[in-house]
């Protein structure tokens, strides 16, 4: 899944983006260079941000927007779309449209938490490994990263989750995060190596700053755009992975997600019964969310690679 569904694109991860020089950062007061303006300057990113904002609103306002509760099974089961039930009802007589609306909560939550956790792990491992380049610590961490990079993520996630009887969101988020940090960690290691020997780092060393301080307060601020891009990428992967797990019947047991809706639809033979909307809509809203997040990343790429800005 991508992320799992969407693995690091071959050939793209090899070249670390050129980091902005520290001088440029200092000149950040120049209004034209503010990060949000750069991101917003990309048409794709604008579309992505607006769409994701709409999703967030829908998730927050789910109880207001959804006509019924996500588990309210008081309707005739297996009906097609109608005015009362825009997407019909499922086997248990639950309104599918309401499920789709509530499903946005799971996807966004898994994306946010999974993205944050995976990025944090990637940052820690990538930074330490890159800063300690050439030492045993680096060798061990690089080995760990390379190993994690070649193990197919989805089968591993499936195996880990399959063992657990209670499947809450925390378990799914945790498993996704600990299996999908590797690509980003490698990217960060590559970038810190290019940053480590810059003058401002040397200056900080001479002024007696400790290693941790140098990494986190001198080097890290220069990699914000890469971290942001990695976060969006990891969040996207986590959303896809959650959906994939749910389709296999390994979704969170206490909440409805778009993946679980698809699982229920598939299990109930929705397709052979002609209940098209039940299958079509959850996948579509998922695809639109993931596309929007990919679009946002186009905008973030402009930050780290000024060459792309002439659009």
């Amino acid at each position: 899944m991508s992320s799992a569904q969407n693995p690091v694109l071959p050939g793209t991860s090899i070249s670390p983006a050129e980091p902005p020089a520290p001088e440029e950062q200092a000149a950040g007061s120049d209004v034209a260079d503010r990060w949000y303006r750069v991101v917003w300057s990309s048409k794709k990113a604008r579309v992505g941000i607006v769409v994701v904002a709409i999703y967030v609103l829908v998730a927050l306002l789910a109880p207001v927007i959804a006509p019924y509760g996500p588990t309210d099974g008081s309707f005739t089961p297996l009906t097609g779309p109608s005015a009362r039930h825009l997407l019909g009802t499922n086997v248990a007589g639950v309104d599918v449209f309401s499920q789709v609306i509530y499903g946005s909560r799971v996807s966004l939550l898994v994306g946010l938490l999974g993205g944050l956790l995976a990025t944090a792990i990637a940052l820690l491992i990538g930074l330490v490994s890159g800063y300690a380049e050439g030492t045993v610590v680096d060798d061990v961490l690089t080995f760990l990263t390379n190993t994690a990079l070649v193990i197919p993520v989805l089968p591993l996630i499936i195996t880990l989750v399959a063992y657990s009887d209670t499947r809450g969101i925390p378990l799914i988020v945790g498993v996704i995060a600990i299996t999908s940090w590797a690509g980003a960690a490698r990217g960060k290691r590559a970038q810190i190596i290019t940053l480590r020997n810059r003058d401002f780092v040397t200056a900080a060393k001479f002024s007696g700053d400790g290693t941790l301080r140098i990494i986190f307060s001198e080097i890290l601020p220069n990699m914000t755009s890469l971290v942001a891009a990695a976060f969006v990428g990891a969040a996207t992967g986590a959303i896809g992975a959650e959906a994939g797990l749910a389709v296999l019947g390994l979704g969170s047991s206490d909440s409805v997600s778009w993946g679980t809706i698809l699982y229920q639809a598939d299990a109930a033979g929705a397709i052979s019964q002609g209940l098209f909307a039940w299958v079509f809509v959850p996948g579509l809203v998922l695809a639109i969310l993931i596309t929007s997040m990919a679009f946002i990343n186009f905008g973030i790429d402009l930050l780290s690679n000024p060459h792309l800005r002439e659009d």
């Binding site: 499936i158 195996t159 389709v247 296999l248 639809a265 079509f280 996948g283 990919a294």
Partner: protein, 329 residues
């Protein structure tokens, strides 16, 4: 030589790590596998019978002794190709069950991967060469969107449209009318069943190649040797194919193996949706009925296949690109 030694060394170490991980996964979980197994047989809330659990423990060849001796035992069994006994397909061993499904997936994924690679590389190279043309823009935009679609969802749509709607292709299983064997009827049967799963994967897998190839090729087109080639007045075609595309291809060779892991992952969901009798469906099944030995065997196999593919790609890369050898030395 050092490059190759390093790559082989990394392969051995990763293999060991994967095997160890696979050994540890069930041991990190709470609960006794034999108890779980009996529980599954007799029902969730039924009273556990000690004798049953003991019998099951014997049957499963239950682990005994210290963790280390278990580990040693496990390695020994693995070397003999013994992955344990499948709960569901008892008395078949995991290796036998996997063997039955193996070729279905290998042929499906193999065909899809080779085709995807060829299509992706060609489209990507052409898009980069005609950068910012209408062709380039449409290829990039379509790829970006299609790349975000979930394979299982595409599968469901294809079943709905081409399967039920138009009735062109069977929507489930690997074959039906014929008996398996090397004859025309069976091959036709199998191919028509494989068509929709293959089409699903073919929609998704070339995307990575297209975008990766395009990016590398654009980067290469900005290099000095291309400028020199242009200055020498070499024909465009030659610059595009013999110079830029050839060099841009190199990173894709390494990417090919990594992508395999992704394809295998995607196959699990696609095969499950199509009920295609390959390794992916087997995994979906193993999850559903908690056949842990089977699940683990499949996980191990997937990882080992990806590792081997990676090693081959790495070695090939070292032969094709002398710079890689020097950089690693």
């Amino acid at each position: 030589m050092r490059y190759f030694a390093r790559k082989v060394g990394f392969f051995v170490l990763t293999l060991w790590a994967v095997v160890t991980l696979n050994f540890m996964i069930p041991r990190l979980q709470p609960g006794d596998p034999a108890e779980l197994m009996v529980q599954n047989l007799v029902g969730k809330n039924a009273q556990l019978n000690r004798a049953q659990v003991e019998a099951m423990r014997d049957l499963l060849g239950a682990p005994s002794g210290s963790l280390f001796s278990q580990y040693w035992n496990y390695l020994g069994q693995l070397i003999q190709g013994n992955l344990g006994i499948s709960y569901t397909y008892f008395p078949y061993s995991v290796a036998e069950v996997i063997g039955m499904a193996f070729w279905w997936t290998v042929i499906l994924v193999g065909a899809v991967q080779v085709l995807s690679f060829a299509i992706g590389i060609l489209l990507g190279a052409f898009a980069a060469w005609r950068r910012n043309s209408r062709f380039d823009t449409s290829v990039t935009v379509i790829s970006t969107f299609v790349g975000t679609l979930q394979p299982f969802w595409i599968a469901l749509l294809l079943i709905y449209g081409l399967g039920y709607g138009l009735g062109w292709f069977p929507t489930a299983g690997g074959y039906e009318a014929s008996t398996p064997g090397f004859n025309g009827a069976f091959i036709y049967d199998a191919v028509s069943h494989a068509f929709l799963p293959a089409l699903t994967l073919m929609i998704v897998t070339p995307i990575g190649w297209i975008l990766g190839m395009r990016n590398t090729m654009i980067m290469n087109l900005g290099e000095d040797y291309i400028r020199l080639a242009r200055a020498k007045g070499l024909p465009d075609r030659m610059i595009a194919l013999r110079y830029a595309a050839r060099n841009a291809l190199l990173p894709s060779v390494a990417g090919f193996a990594l992508a395999l892991g992704g394809v295998l992952g995607g196959t699990i969901l696609v095969e499950t949706v199509f009920d295609y009798p390959g390794l992916g469906r087997l995994m979906g099944e193993a999850v559903g009925i908690k056949d842990y030995p089977l699940l683990q065997g499949l996980m191990l196999l997937t990882a080992v296949v990806t590792l081997v593919a990676n090693l081959i790609a790495d070695l090939l890369y070292g032969i094709l690109d002398p710079r890689a050898r020097r950089a690693a030395a």
